[in-house]
């Protein structure tokens, strides 16, 4: 449980400190979402859901927006990812990149729909074109790279190298 807390808190801190430096034309990856997915892939839907909730909550609190919005969508994302383990070949980068992109879009759509209940003013088209879709692409690649690094670390550990 300790590592879970460390990862989610670390992801949240990195999102506001390190990630701006990775900005490409104003687009940044959603590190807490990527971490939620990685955790869910390894630990299943329950832990994925809890990690997503916690990471989203931290993002909400740090971001100063509506607290609970990202907690809810990321919890759903974590849960859904956890359910997919075993049904999809999630270790394949050809699945990881589009998978993470689709998940980001779904999370964005979910957040947008949720925020409609709270009179969120921005249009879906503008949000998709300028925020969600570019971030989905970025998340796909960063997520796939992270998954590969985790897999390599696992491999090294199993061979007794680390």
């Amino acid at each position: 449980m300790k590592w879970l807390l460390l990862m989610t808190i670390g992801g949240s801190i990195a999102q506001s400190s390190l990630v701006p430096a990775l900005s490409v034309s104003g687009v940044t990856p959603d590190l807490p979402l990527i971490l939620t997915v990685l955790i869910a892939l390894r630990r299943g839907p329950e832990i994925g859901c809890a990690a997503g909730f916690f990471a989203g909550l931290l993002q909400d609190i740090a971001g100063g927006g509506l607290i609970g919005a990202q907690a809810l969508t990321k919890a759903l994302a974590g849960f859904a990812t956890g359910l997919l383990v075993g049904r999809l070949s999630v270790s394949n980068p050809l699945v990881q990149v589009p998978g993470l992109a689709i998940l980001t879009i779904a999370e964005g759509l979910g957040r947008f729909l949720l925020l409609q209940f709270f009179h969120y003013p921005a249009s879906l088209g503008g949000l998709m074109a300028h925020v969600v879709l570019p971030q989905a692409l970025y998340n796909g690649f960063v997520g796939a790279a992270s998954a590969l690094i985790v897999a390599a670390a696992d491999h090294a550990r199993s061979r007794g190298w680390a």
Binding site: S16, E46, L114
Partner: protein, 279 residues
């Protein structure tokens, strides 16, 4: 287990929705939203501090990287400028040398060709320079070679594009010379130690003293008359021997010669006055 799984999901969703609802109820001005804000304010403060710390750490790191890059770039720039400075200095020295050579060439009453030293042989057996003028430039054997300070030797070997110049301190070198002041005739010879000696008949050289200037005699029609060779450094008195020797301090530092003039023309005129007093 399945109930637990979905139970967790439902709980999380309910908590999230509750949070959202509480915050926005009464346009965010009600007691419930105040309570949420009150509860979360310390957490927010802590998070802000942590984020700020992490951001500062990251910025320090990026600044440090930038400074490191800048430092490397400035070092490279400094090195480039240092090399450029050395080149400029070298060019200035070369320019000054060439100006002196050109001035001498213009003063001389005979045709001369400038050449650049491209090789040096100073092992002791032979003391010679190779210059980048040869048969193609009209150079022939025995061509006198000078610098603004005076004579350095003569061409002993001519190739198509280069020539080998035998220096005055070569063991095989012998040049007809006179003491400028007393007109005492003699021969300037090199030796294996690299020393130049002026060999003169004892009966003619009684008045030769240290500091006397030795110039070419012009006899033998190889060298023009009056080319400075050096100054008498000391006299080796051999007593009743037929010849005496004077050790000469050459006017030219043969090791530092880089550009020369090859005298392709001839003149009967004494050229000593065209050289500066110190060569």
């Amino acid at each position: 287990m399945k109930f637990g799984r979905y139970g967790l999901l439902v709980s999380v969703l309910v908590v999230s929705l509750l949070l959202l609802t509480v915050q926005t109820r009464g346009a965010g001005t009600g007691r419930a939203s105040d309570a949420v804000a009150l509860l979360l304010a310390p957490v927010q403060n802590v998070l802000v501090k942590v984020h700020r710390g992490a951001l500062a750490l990251w910025m320090n790191y990026t600044d440090w990287k930038a400074v490191q890059r800048q430092n490397a770039s400035l070092r490279a720039e400094a090195e480039r400028l240092r090399v450029q400075g050395l080149r400029t200095e070298e060019t200035e020295y070369e320019n000054a040398r060439l100006r002196r050579l050109l001035a001498l060439q213009q003063r001389l009453p005979l045709s001369a060709l400038a050449g650049e030293v491209i090789g040096r042989e100073s092992g002791g057996w032979v003391r010679a320079l190779t210059v980048n003028r040869g048969r193609g430039s009209g150079i022939v054997q025995q061509t006198p070679v000078i610098v603004p300070e005076g004579l350095i030797g003569r061409v002993v070997q001519v190739r198509s594009e280069t020539s080998v110049v035998q220096l005055l301190n070569d063991p095989a070198s012998a040049v007809g010379a006179v003491v400028q002041r007393t007109r005492t005739p003699g021969l300037v010879e090199g030796d294996a130690a690299g020393v130049i000696r002026f060999k003169f008949m004892a009966r003619d050289g009684a008045q030769v003293t240290s500091g006397d200037v030795i110039v070419t005699s012009g006899l033998g029609s190889v060298f023009p008359k009056g080319l400075p060779i050096g100054r008498v450094a000391s006299i080796e008195d051999k007593g009743s021997a037929l010849f005496h020797f004077a050790v000469i301090a050459p006017t030219v530092d043969f090791a530092r010669v880089e550009e020369v003039l090859l005298l392709t023309g001839r003149t009967p005129q004494d050229v000593a006055g065209l050289f500066a007093p110190e060569g």
